[in-house]
Amino acid sequence: MQRVVVGDYSTSGFRKETQQSIFDVAAGAGSALLKHEIVLQSEVEAVIFSSCSSDQYTASILAEMLGIKPKIAIRVDNLCNSGTSAVISGYGLIASGLCKSVLIVGAESRNSPGRLLSWDVTRGSFSLPIYWATMYARNHMRTYGTTEEQMASVVVKNRKNAFKNPNALYQKEITISEVMSSKRITEPLKLLDCSSLCSGASAVLLLSKTMASKRVETPIYITGIGSQTNSASLAEVMSNLNNTGTSRIAARDAYKMANVSPKDIDVAELHDAFSIMEIMAYEDLCFVDRGEGGKFIEDSDIATNPRGGILGCGHPLGATGVSQVAEITSQLSGNADRRQVEGCKIGLVHNLSAAGTSATVIILGTE
């Protein structure tokens, strides 16, 4: 089996609005990556487009716009988890020997149809994601004593990190009191506990180890992958609010494949569409015991969401997972500029969809 290297990456600025089409947004990140000339367009053997857009034939359109005639052009649509699912698909193409180079581009516009899963009748009229996030938060507070201030601390940390990331939607640090006094949307979630949908794109280039050998100065390997889908509806989630079971399974499988344990992780990009989700991720990824996530934010020894997470960067659904992988690659290769985590060697990406009905964990390393 071929080892798989993240050979290059490029992320565009995530912005509230754009006048560009989804294809122009995607092509912007894709062409910026190709201009680095790690590969020629003629050497790209597969193009994977990650998006929840309602457009058709998207990967082929993107390939044509980028001047690529790939063997394989496919689109991956898995709501918030789309980008990480696309990376898994690309990994499979290279590991199997089917391709030597795969370009993955995730892109979304703010008004993406992926913001609502109207299919799910178990949600009734409470179809927006904030309602399931509220149920998680209420349960965590009641069961484990997690506080609103601890959730606010997640937002403050991620906004602080985003301040160092020129591509992040939010470029202003905020305080706990600003989070606490922001508009109350539900009990206990406030406006600043919630991420914002936005427009943006991110691209990564996966290469076989052989192809990367003479082109990539500091190869960053994908060493572990875990992914699990338990359902699409909230039916199963609602019967157990204590954890996102898919994240636990994905983490277990990724740690096993990479032959590492949670304490080996130096830097992590976690799914934080709502502040409570990052606290639950600490527990689901076994950084801490169940119920201890709220305290972990206060004395964490793992650098979490250095790019600013979803709370700081915004959430262009199909691009988020790709940009998480791009960030961890930049961290491990020592190219993260002002937000560089010193000495990191093993990184983790965690992403999920629709209340954790599906989740993905990807582990990357310098060896």
Binding site: R123, S125, F126, M135, R138, N139, M238, L241
Partner: protein, 111 residues
């Protein structure tokens, strides 16, 4: 889900049952995901247990909502009445499809 919505549109909350497996199927599918037999839709109890709840402030008037376990299935609906708490008994008093095409389930605390 067409049959489920057809019943719900008339205010009739029904849950599918697989006659082969004898299992309640939720979310409501036409086919049992275990044995792939066609399901039948039957009425279920309207009395349930409130498993979690909160208040939303997105409309002019704050509204309580929560997860209710009803006849072996979980669903998210509005919860009316004072003094509700996790574990309290509630009753489904109204359901249907709203003007936006979304199902709605309205519960109130059992007296």
């Amino acid at each position: 889900m067409l049959r489920f919505k057809d019943f719900l549109r008339k205010g009739d909350f029904r849950v599918p049952l697989c006659t082969a497996c004898k299992e309640t199927i939720w979310p409501p599918f036409e086919t049992c995901p275990i044995c792939l037999s066609r399901t039948i839709f039957r009425r279920t109890t309207k009395r349930g247990i409130l498993r979690e709840f909160s208040t939303t402030f997105t409309s002019e008037t704050p509204q309580q909502f929560g997860i209710v376990e009803l006849g072996g299935v979980h669903l998210l609906g509005s919860v009316h009445g004072f003094g509700i708490s996790v574990g309290c008994k509630v009753i489904l008093y109204e359901c249907g499809i709203d003007n936006n095409g979304y199902p709605f389930y309205k519960f109130k605390k059992c007296p």
